[in-house]
Amino acid sequence: MSFRGSVPSDAARRRFNEMVLPHLDDAYGLARWLTGNQTDAEDVVQDSCMRALASLETAIVERPRAWVLTIVRNTAFSWLAKNRPKAVVLTDDPQLLDAAAARRDSAPDPEEALIAAADEAALESAIQALPHLYREVIVMRDINGMSYREIAAAIGAPQGTVMSRLARGRARLVDKLGSRA
């Protein structure tokens, strides 16, 4: 993870303080969820910040948080592709939703109670088991509290895609957490 760049200008450093620093928690949170551990997340965030600083010489940024998270997710995906090639599953397959939904039909109410009772470890492992493309939208929406619009800007996809990935990701979580013995 090395990044080559020249010395940033005063303007870039000022913009960095204004646009990147306030979103460091969100950046770290997303990196942690995507890489699955703290050490790798710190590397990814640090690398992302170097890239952000370098591109602030010229970039025009309208939504700083979405912009920062775009850099973080791209850096995280490159990092995963290089270091954990087997772990990256970028599935976006509608069939999976229907399969999960069909299984849900049999048992309605006990599932809700099971989901509500899911502890931190169960939630964590269920979310970590999701494909990255579903995981990132759930983290951005349910943990970072971002709007559909902001998430769409961060992942560079239409809002409809955000909605369908959220729906699929959540369907899997409901399925997994609601069927624990």
Partner: protein
């Protein structure tokens, strides 16, 4: 049940859950939910999931060491070499003096700074308030009294601060009150209210203006150390809101606070 529900309806359910529907859309979903128990059960599961995630997987904070490295990155251009060391501890080593001086700077605050540069009173106050905001976020202890009830905060302050403090309820504006604390600017204890917006907080501090006859001024927004500060003067009092919110939302907070404070002044009979 699910086969009967179109994919569009499923997406609508998620949009309703996320508060992304307008009033008409929300009413439509509510109607469908009350007419369709299976759909309502699915919605209940989604709510259970969302609530479980929210309560048990809180938003993470970047580790302090990482924050110090990133802050140093932007403050010291001469120290950034073309390649970043692969190992974080090498970088800590390199930036240790800088991180230390940064912490010292925040800890000493306005007092020591004044010895060297003698900035304006405004600048001093802002520096102290931003430092207070950062300290609160770092320690996780942002309030001395935690309450969403303004009628609890106000008397709590009156035991500690000489002047009456303006405390307004902004829950309906989407900024619930979290509590209050006493900050110190220079040598003066000042009341600070903490309001919440999603995972962000707004620290609103009220201070006496340099004189009681200072004319009221419209909110002015500045940025310091990456945090937004919104400042205005009203009735001889200076109000400063510090937050990590996006600037537009802090402006909305300022507008809501001033509106509610004006309404309260009208309700209170003059002594």
């Amino acid at each position: 049940m699910t086969e009967r529900h179109s994919d569009d309806l499923k997406l609508l359910l998620h949009a309703a859950l996320d508060g992304e529907l307008d009033a008409a859309g929300a009413m439509d979903v509510e109607g469908r939910l009350s007419a369709d128990p299976a759909l309502a059960a699915e919605y209940a599961r989604l709510i259970a999931l969302r609530d479980a995630i929210r309560t048990r997987l809180p938003r993470e904070r970047a580790p302090d060491a990482l924050r110090a490295r990133v802050v140093a990155m932007a403050q010291t251009p001469s120290q950034i070499k073309p390649t970043t060391p692969r190992h974080p501890w090498l970088l800590i080593e390199r930036y240790r003096p800088l991180a230390a001086s940064l912490v010292l700077g925040v800890a000493l605050g306005a007092g020591a700074y004044q010895l060297f540069e003698r900035p304006s009173a405004d600048d001093d106050a802002q520096r102290a308030l931003v430092a207070g905001f950062i300290r609160g976020r770092l320690s996780g202890q942002t309030v001395d009294i935690a309450t969403s009830d303004r009628h609890t905060v106000k008397p709590w302050f009156s035991g500690k601060i000489a002047e009456a403090t303006t405390v307004v309820d902004l829950k309906t504006d989407g900024f619930p009150l979290v509590g209050g604390r006493v900050d110190v600017v220079g040598e003066t204890p000042v009341p600070t209210l903490i309001y919440q917006r999603r995972e962000h907080q707004i620290a609103l501090t009220e201070m006496p203006a340099s004189s009681a006859t200072v004319p009221s001024s419209k909110p002015r927004r500045e940025t310091r150390d990456g945090y937004s500060i919104l400042e205005w003067t009203e009735g001889g009092r200076v109000y400063a809101a510090v937050s990590d919110l996006p600037p537009a939302e802090l402006d909305a907070f300022g507008a809501a606070f001033r509106r509610a404070a004006a309404a309260e002044r009208e309700d209170t009979p003059k002594p």
